[in-house]
Point group: C2
Chain length 254, copies 2
């Protein structure tokens, strides 16, 4: 099994070291990740400036690693297209420092990197550990290995990927694993206004999370109840059941 | 009718001036757009640096306009949350310089800005004009007005938005309007390798488009055949029909 590993926290983050180390027990691992933190970049790609690649030493690990001055999606694109010989069997992204739950997956560089792997025809998984003052990625690494084992025995369909969120509690507090759907997450009071020393206004994105709970099997509820959440994702944004309605409204003039 | 208008080509682009001018015939328009070009930013939002807002004069138009040093999604978020008094009735984004078709919608700042409007509970539309050496946005502006009129008489459901692509041909060559689904668009030979004057390698994102044609009613086919394409989009990435399969694979341990 050959894994491409990427993330959005940057190549030197603890989470990616843990993910690479854990997956190394299952096969070959190549890391291609942003040279610096790139969280909340969504599915951005770099079109208007050139990209640079630098081979780096990942601590004392026996793992080939490249740092790219681009976004997570750039890294996966370059990894598959140029840097890795042959096609990888899997793209694993993370382990993200903080949750990627509900509507927030749209903003996530980690999830977008996995979507990019999926677009390029590689089976892809995004893994995130919920945020806490103490971030211990050990258990999340074990989950990554378990997921890798299950996927090696079952064929994830094209255009589908997995989004996994792990509660930040001790291993013995974990109640199990749950297949979930994305919840709804909105934010209120998005911006905090401040004044710089010259009296000019600036704004920080802040935001109070509003979780709209509509079902026990959302990723938000599952992690709240100490279950590892496994959500199958796709990336087809067509709203098929609206097509007929739009025709009735007069949008079809053929 | 009150419109929030944004884009990813930047506040001084021709396309947004046309969109604002056209929608002004239907009601009030406020422009909130990036201070510079921000295409291919996907759904990126700015979390790690503060945002600045500057009120600007949009040519000789009687339209309130703000430039933000952020992404298209930032602009829509700030527009709805802070800059516009009361909630806008519609978010219109564009008119984008170039298509946003098929899988490419994931990379698009213009479409992501419309998705952000939708997430915040406002009816949203993204409009793009296919790329050509000559970009005349006049007809696309008329389409925007038509769409605005239809939406004022019909209630776009929550969690749904419209993605509109307009062929870059003269108005009399337009064959009509078609309700479409997203096509598949992949790229081959993604990167071009070059050497800088110091002999160091760098890479440009290039890519030959591979359109996978599987149906006549995709956005890609419709625009190719000179139809204005209207695609209903949603932003729920849950792959519902995979949930049972994952349970069978042993991902549910509750």
């Amino acid at each position: 099994m050959k894994f491409l590993v990427s993330n959005d926290d940057g190549i030197n983050s603890e989470g990616i070291i843990q993910l690479a180390t854990s997956l190394r027990t299952l096969g070959e691992v190549v890391v291609v990740a942003p040279d610096m933190e790139r969280s909340a970049t969504g599915h951005a790609i770099t079109m208007h400036q050139p990209l640079r690649v630098r081979q780096v030493k990942l601590q004392d690990l026996d793992i080939l690693a490249y740092a790219v001055n681009g976004t997570p999606a750039d890294c996966v694109k370059m990894g598959i297209d140029i840097l890795i010989e042959g096609k990888p069997d899997y793209v694993f992204t993370g382990i993200n420092m903080g949750a990627n739950l509900g509507t927030d997956v749209l903003y996530s560089g980690t999830v977008s990197a996995a979507i990019e792997g999926c677009i390029m025809g590689v089976k892809s998984v995004a893994i995130s550990l919920l945020y806490n003052d103490i971030m211990d990625f050990t258990y999340a690494g074990k989950v990554a290995v378990e997921v890798g084992k299950i996927l090696s025995q079952n064929d994830l369909k094209p255009y589908n990927l997995l989004n996994i969120n792990i509660p930040n509690v001790s291993e013995k507090e974990i109640k199990g694993m749950m297949v979930t759907q994305l919840g709804h997450r909105r934010y209120a009071k998005n911006y905090e206004k401040r004044e710089d020393p010259r009296g000019k206004a600036y704004y920080w994105l802040a935001g109070e999370i509003i979780d709209e709970s509509f079902s026990d099997d959302t990723d938000i509820e599952a992690t709240k109840n100490n279950y590892v959440s496994v959500t199958p994702l796709h990336y087809n944004l067509t709203s098929y059941n609206m097509m007929d309605t739009l025709k009735q409204w007069g949008f079809n003039r053929v």
